[in-house]
């Protein structure tokens, strides 16, 4: 997989005053790591995938297919079916039939067995899932191997445990399933989002029709194969591929009881509008512009790691990414200097290389969006610093970047970039930090860094965000509920609270 290497388009801009003074550390090539590519020769993708409906793959009624490409080299990996309204109708019917015939009648302990079986099978096939996730989405193999796939399995394990204990999840109330859930997931964590959606729905006794994102359908289809092998009753899980129209057909299908959507705020708003008055239940997990608040008394080197992880994890394609760094003014220069040295060590390139830290941008469309906002940041007068890394010439790439001197009113401080771009702002007092952190339309996550425990709690009580991390960032666990405030959506996923999205409560 040799590639031509070109220089990063913008090169390096000088960071803010004070931070560019000598002496400087030299992260050069005295000791370069040789390529350490994950082997892919054993991966056998089908040239074409149908729709997984009623327990089997079949061709779409639409007769249409579209290509899914590897964003790191623009090669076509496979073709997947484009489900039309008739296909969606088939899938919903299959889910309804499975709900009435099998799943709603099955004891919780039996449902649990199937979920445990899926979890174990995912662990057994973890390596293949990780490789395909990386090929289809562009994320580093390090992340798909150590985060996406293990966490997906963990969600099935966790929810398997709840399936026969729902009476204890809602004390004194009886929980009943909703019926058929239509689930639409994004391209940033394709397999993990499928697990987040499918596992609680099934644990609570619902059946599902899941639509993965059009740029990253492959691991969901591999999951369909795995579910077929696990011999779930046919129709309990249906996986259909397609783009926005397919999703709209699913959302608007009359026999769907619940819609769960993770994706952009714009689409989320449209879904909510179209569901008004239908009686369908809805949960939305949308965009974010999280504040990562660093006080001057923070453990600074660890804060730097948290900032790096917060914004460059998965190329910044993370709805809860810490994309706004709010740093106490007195610590600004110290922090920026460390940040600059730290991103000089980040390895951008082939996602299948085990040493890659930042992979490919998921699609051309997303790359254009990132470039547009970065240009806006430069026009608005913020100072840009991009890592001095070489970028491959094929595929979609963007070097890890941060802006200093960003105003609260800048587009790059207000709009979700969904890329490896951090905006650095300053504050003087905790009150100001809080005000700036909450001054956004979003409210998905936030981080607080300080050596003082009381300050973490003071901030956490007042931050309008669904998740607040203290002296860490981007930490997830199936037992911990995740979800947003304001335009970041509503409803929670994970934990006991996440079950509520998939049950009707009596009494």
């Amino acid at each position: 997989m040799s590639r031509e290497i070109t220089k990063s388009p913008k090169g390096i801009a000088a960071a803010s005053a004070g931070a560019s003074q000598a002496p400087a550390l030299d992260f050069g090539r005295a000791w370069d790591y040789a390529p350490a590519l994950e082997g892919v020769s054993h991966i056998k993708l089908q040239p074409r995938y149908g729709l997984f409906i009623g327990g089997a793959f079949r061709a779409p009624r639409s007769d249409k297919y579209f290509a899914t490409v590897n964003p790191s080299n623009e090669q076509v990996l496979s073709e997947v079916a484009e489900a039309n309204a008739a296909d969606v109708d088939d899938a919903v019917r299959a889910a309804r039939l499975a709900y009435e015939k099998y799943w709603s009648k099955m004891r919780g302990a039996e449902r649990a067995k199937y979920l445990f079986r899926i979890a174990r099978a995912l662990q057994e096939k973890a390596r293949d899932f990780a490789i395909v996730e990386t090929m289809d989405g562009g994320k580093p193999i390090k992340e798909s191997r150590d985060f996406d796939v293990p966490m997906a399995a963990a969600h099935f394990f966790y929810h398997a445990g709840w399936a026969d204990k729902l009476d204890y999840a809602f004390q004194g109330r009886r929980a009943r399933p909703l019926g058929v859930a239509g689930q639409i997931i994004p391209w940033n964590f394709p397999l993990l989002m499928a697990a987040w959606k499918i596992a609680p729905a099934l644990a609570c006794g619902n059946t599902v029709v899941l639509k993965p994102a059009e740029t990253t359908p492959l691991t969901a289809l591999l999951l369909a194969q795995l579910i077929e092998e696990a011999e779930l009753p046919p129709g309990v899980v249906n996986i259909i591929t397609g783009a926005g129209e397919t999703g709209a057909a699913l959302v608007n299908h009359a026999d769907v009881n619940k819609i769960a959507f993770t994706g952009s705020t714009e689409v989320g708003k449209r879904i909510q509008a179209s569901l008004a008055g239908t009686g369908k239940r809805l949960t939305l997990e949308l965009g974010g512009k999280a504040a990562n608040v660093v006080f001057a008394d923070a453990p600074m080197d660890q804060a730097v790691e948290g900032i790096i992880n917060g914004i460059y994890f998965n190329q910044g394609h993370v709805c809860c990414a810490g994309s706004r760094l709010l740093v106490e003014e007195s610590a600004h220069d110290t922090l920026v200097r460390r940040l600059r040295d730290r991103i000089a060590t980040m390895r951008v390139g082939d996602p299948l290389d085990k040493n890659t830290d930042v992979g490919a941008i998921n699609s051309k469309m997303q790359l254009d969006r990132i470039r547009e906002l970065v240009d806006a940041g430069e026009r608005e007068g913020a100072t840009r610093y991009s890592a001095p890394c070489a970028l491959p010439s094929k595929g979609y790439w963007f070097a890890p970047t941060f802006f200093t001197g960003v105003a609260q009113s800048s587009r790059i401080a207000r709009e979700e970039i969904f890329g490896p771009v951090l905006s650095v702002l300053t504050f003087r007092t905790p009150d100001e930090a809080l005000e700036k952190a909450n001054n956004t339309m979003y409210g998905l996550s936030a981080g607080v860094w300080t050596d003082k425990g009381a300050k973490i709690f003071w901030m956490a009580e007042r931050l309008k965000a669904g998740v607040v991390w203290g002296n860490t960032f981007n930490k997830f666990d199936p037992s911990s509920p995740f979800g947003g405030y304001k335009e970041s959506g509503f409803g929670r996923e994970g934990g006991r609270q996440g079950l509520a999205a998939y049950v009707e409560l009596d009494g």
Partner: protein, 328 residues
């Protein structure tokens, strides 16, 4: 920053918001030593970062380069009551020519022995670039009168030591008597003369990263050329996380002053894989300039054999029997 009350450094956020360096260094003892604080370290996050660097996958040429570098950074060490001239001579021979099959490997950076064995090492290493390091200052506890400790240092230097590995008074450190720790290091530095001074913190006894960080700052300010984790007599000895914390202090000192301090993890580094992990931590924390025996050492006795085995495996494609490698 919380660190400025004690040292009269300029306004926070200017050249050196972290107080290492000009505040403590150069100008001698700061006035308000008992209040000396240093930036906090978060245990969970620093251990996570150190562990994440173990994920670097080093193959082929980069592995061979790293392993050869590791050998050139080794202080081959024997610090036992039963050390004899014969044992030390064997060690010196190993340090001069670590591999009998590949003359491009080595030599090691130094041998590290007790003062009484320095003359033996001097003779055995005559004409070679291998340095002689001697532990001193009532190693390993350091709990002797300062005059005794300084005499220990002067004798080791007279015997021909190029480098002095001293221990700090951990009791004084934990009791908050930072002035005592500082003064003893400064006095040892003076007694060492031209010999390089490595300051052993014995991090396994200091226990928290906050105190390790503080001790590192003190040692550097008082004149250390190297800071070193451990004597090898206490568990845990060197760990990746404690090494990372110390490297961060070295980096902050470099930011503030431009002066490069060396680092030596010692004890507990036994395998080639561990050695590469440490080198990755150095490379990604301090950069290329520290990838040299002048600024990074391993204090080890068992490590060399495993590194040689891995190099031989890379060279021939086969693992050799353990007895193909001499044990000294």
């Amino acid at each position: 920053m919380s660190t400025h009350a004690t040292n009269g450094n300029g306004p926070a956020g200017t050249a050196a918001p972290y107080s290492v360096g000009p505040s403590l260094g150069g100008g001698g003892r700061p006035a308000l030593f008992p209040l000396f604080t240093s930036p906090p370290v978060d245990q969970v996050a620093v251990e996570e970062r150190a562990a994440s660097l173990a994920k670097r996958s080093l193959k082929k040429a980069s592995k061979v380069w790293g392993l050869k570098l590791a050998i050139s950074m080794m202080d081959l060490t024997t610090l036992e009551g039963k050390d004899t001239p014969g044992k030390v001579r064997g060690l010196c021979q190993k340090a001069r020519a670590p591999s009998d099959s590949d003359p491009s490997i080595g030599p090691c950076a130094a041998v590290c022995v007790y003062p009484n064995l320095v003359p033996t090492a001097r003779l055995a290493l005559a004409g070679s670039p291998v340095k002689i390091a001697s532990v001193a200052t009532a190693f390993p506890s350091g709990l002797s009168p300062l005059t005794v400790k300084l005499d220990d240092v002067r004798r080791a230097v007279e015997f021909g030591a190029d480098e002095i590995d001293m221990v700090i008074d951990r009791g004084a450190m934990l009791a908050g008597d930072y002035a005592k720790v500082f003064d003893e290091i400064a006095a040892t530095k003076e007694a060492s003369g031209a010999a390089h001074l490595k300051v052993i913190l014995e991090t396994g006894e200091l226990q928290t990263y906050d105190i390790v960080r503080k001790a590192s700052e003190l040692a550097i300010a008082a004149g250390a050329d190297f800071i070193k984790t451990s004597t090898g007599k206490v568990q845990p000895a060197a760990t990746p996380a404690v090494t990372l914390v110390m490297l961060e202090v070295i980096r902050d000192h470099y930011y503030a002053t431009g002066r490069k301090i060396g680092m030596k993890p010692a004890g507990g580094v036994r395998t080639a894989k561990q050695a590469l992990h440490y080198l990755v931590i150095v490379k990604e924390t301090l950069g290329d300039a520290w990838l040299t025996p002048d600024l990074f050492r391993f204090g080890a006795s068992a490590l060399l054999t495993d590194v040689l085995m891995q190099l031989e495996k890379e060279r021939t494609g086969l693992y050799q029997a353990a007895d193909d490698f001499s044990k000294d």
